[in-house]
Every structure is written in structure tokens, then in C-alpha cells.
Symmetry: C2
Subunit: 175 residues, 2 copies
């Protein structure tokens, strides 16, 4: 497959952003390539197109699978694995948000719960500290329980809700 200039720009950008999103350049570039590719690609093709080592592609595929972002498919008469990724922006976004929550929020939530419990049975504990820990904990709990509800909704409902954003605020009344 030959990359068009647009594809190349897209892949390079995605690769650079990858580091900010918590994955390395290779992983993000491969994801970008699969997003652009009209058909599933095998590992060898990915190596060639992106000039990456075979092992690097292998490991990156594993990481992308860990994120749930790539699927392995097979082509008739070819025993090699071929890889695709979801092409829908919203689905992709949902997955990334979910995974990042797991990695970036859940451990902190667990830690806060633990500390909150410890502080409860601690008569000498500083009142201010107790208060702040509990403030963080209850804020995060509120946000995550809201998120859990939202993610159960079908995407179409979410779109409706998001588009209705301003209307909702008016309905509920400010404050």
C-alpha cells in the first residue's frame, strides 16, 4: 500500500500525539495506519509501510489488542494474521475513555477509598486532611457513577444528549 500525503500527515501526527496519550509512537502510528487503511493489513505490510522492526510491530499489536482497538481477521488462502481497527470515531473514543479511566482514575479511586477508611478509625487524624481526602473521593465517585450510567446508553442517545446540552441546562434550571 502506498501512503498518500494526507495519510502520511495523519499517521505522523497521531504518532506524535501518542506519547501524550500514553502510548508510544510506534503503537500510535500503527493505529493511525489501520484507521486509514481501506483493508486489513498483515504485520509484514505494516513493517514496510512504517519502517518498523517486525518485533516492534508484534509488540505494538499486542498493546493495541490490550486496548481493544484492533481486531485480528483472516484472509482466505493466507495464513498470516491481518489487523483492522474500528473506523467509527465515537466507538474508538468510548474505548479509549474506558481504558484511560481504568488506568488513570480507578487506581486513585481505590487508594482514596482505602485512605478514607483508615482515617475514619483514626481519632488523631487531622480534620482538614480527612476533609480533603473525602472531598476528592466523593467527587470522583460522583463522576464515575455518572460515567457508568452514560456508557450504558446507546451512542445515538448520547449524541442527542450532547446536542441538547444547552436545552437541558435550561430545563433543569440554573443552580
Amino acid at each position: 500500500m502506498k501512503l498518500t500525503p494526507v495519510m502520511e500527515k495523519f499517521i505522523l501526527h497521531w504518532g506524535e500525539m501518542g506519547t501524550r496519550w500514553g502510548v508510544n509512537r510506534s503503537v500510535a502510528q500503527i493505529h493511525a495506519l489501520l484507521l486509514m487503511s481501506p483493508k486489513p493489513l498483515n504485520a509484514e505490510e505494516i513493517c514496510e509501510i512504517l519502517s518498523l522492526a517486525r518485533s516492534n510491530v508484534s509488540n505494538s499489536m499486542k498493546e493495541l489488542s490490550g486496548w481493544g482497538l484492533v481486531k485480528v481477521v483472516h484472509v482466505l488462502g493466507d495464513r498470516r494474521d491481518h489487523f483492522t481497527t474500528l473506523k467509527d470515531a465515537q466507538e474508538t473514543f468510548n474505548i479509549i475513555v474506558e481504558e484511560r479511566k481504568k488506568r488513570e482514575i480507578d487506581p486513585t479511586l481505590a487508594m482514596l477509598k482505602e485512605l478514607s477508611l483508615e482515617l475514619e478509625n483514626d481519632k488523631d487524624a487531622d480534620k482538614e486532611v480527612k476533609e480533603r481526602i473525602n472531598n476528592m473521593l466523593s467527587f470522583l465517585e460522583m463522576m464515575t457513577s455518572w460515567y457508568d450510567k452514560m456508557k450504558k446508553l446507546p451512542n445515538s442517545t448520547l449524541v442527542t444528549l450532547v446536542k441538547a446540552g444547552t436545552t437541558i441546562v435550561k430545563l433543569i434550571g440554573k443552580g
Copy 2:
């Protein structure tokens, strides 16, 4: 200042998570320390408590200022800078989300706009690619414009909205 076991746990955890959140351990530890500290701390105190080099603290303070997470205050009769951070979870969260959006979303939004424009004036461009770029672009635009509206609301309204999450869905009707 002497750290209690709870504070220490909190600081160490925050430090570890920092790397996942896109800041280094020192920066995250300092932020955690300021979150727990009952009073503003000067650089020297931070060095001692966290066993960090003076220069490291200085650079970290600069980074935290860049995030808008710390404020410099002065104590009467002391010429040294003293540092505090917002103690409210929601405010802190708002700032972090805003900053991460700037770093993690905005550049991609700009890139997609650019590519979308290029593709528009390109008769030979692959139709599929065009479609995917535009799908991503319009999804991100929808999300960010929703976010821009939400962030204008006072926190209390946001809390109401989040708490009313389920009710809203029922009001709007599924789909």
C-alpha cells in the same frame, strides 16, 4: 512539617500516577504534598520533605504554574516564595481537564481541520479516507463544543446536572 502515614501514602500514589497523567513523579509528588499541606510551603521545605534537589523543585514549580495548579503566596516577614494549590477537587479537576484538552485534543482537532480542507479540494482523494477524517473531525467538534458550553456553567449547576443524569435521559427520551 512531618508527614503522617496517610499523607505519605497519598503523595507516593499521586507520584506514581503522575507518569500516567503526563507529568513526572516529582511534579506530581509536589502537587500531592501541597494538596495535603495545611499551610503554604516554601521551596526549601518541599525539598526536605520529599528529598528532592532544589533545582528539581524549582522546575517542578514552574511546570505546576504552567498547569495553573499552584499559586505563589507570601508570608509577612519572609521573602521566600510560598506555594499553595487549590484544595477543591472539582476546581482541580476542571483545570486538569482544560489543560489536557489543550495538549491532547486541540492539536489533533487543528490537524483534522487542515486535512479535511486539503481533501475538499482534492478530486483524486480516496472517498473512504475523506469520510473517516470528516467523521473524526465532526465527532471531536461536537464533543468540544459541548465541553465549551459545559465549562461556562457554574460548578453547582454541573453537580445538579450530573446528579440528574438518569432523569435527563428519561426526559429526553431514549433515541
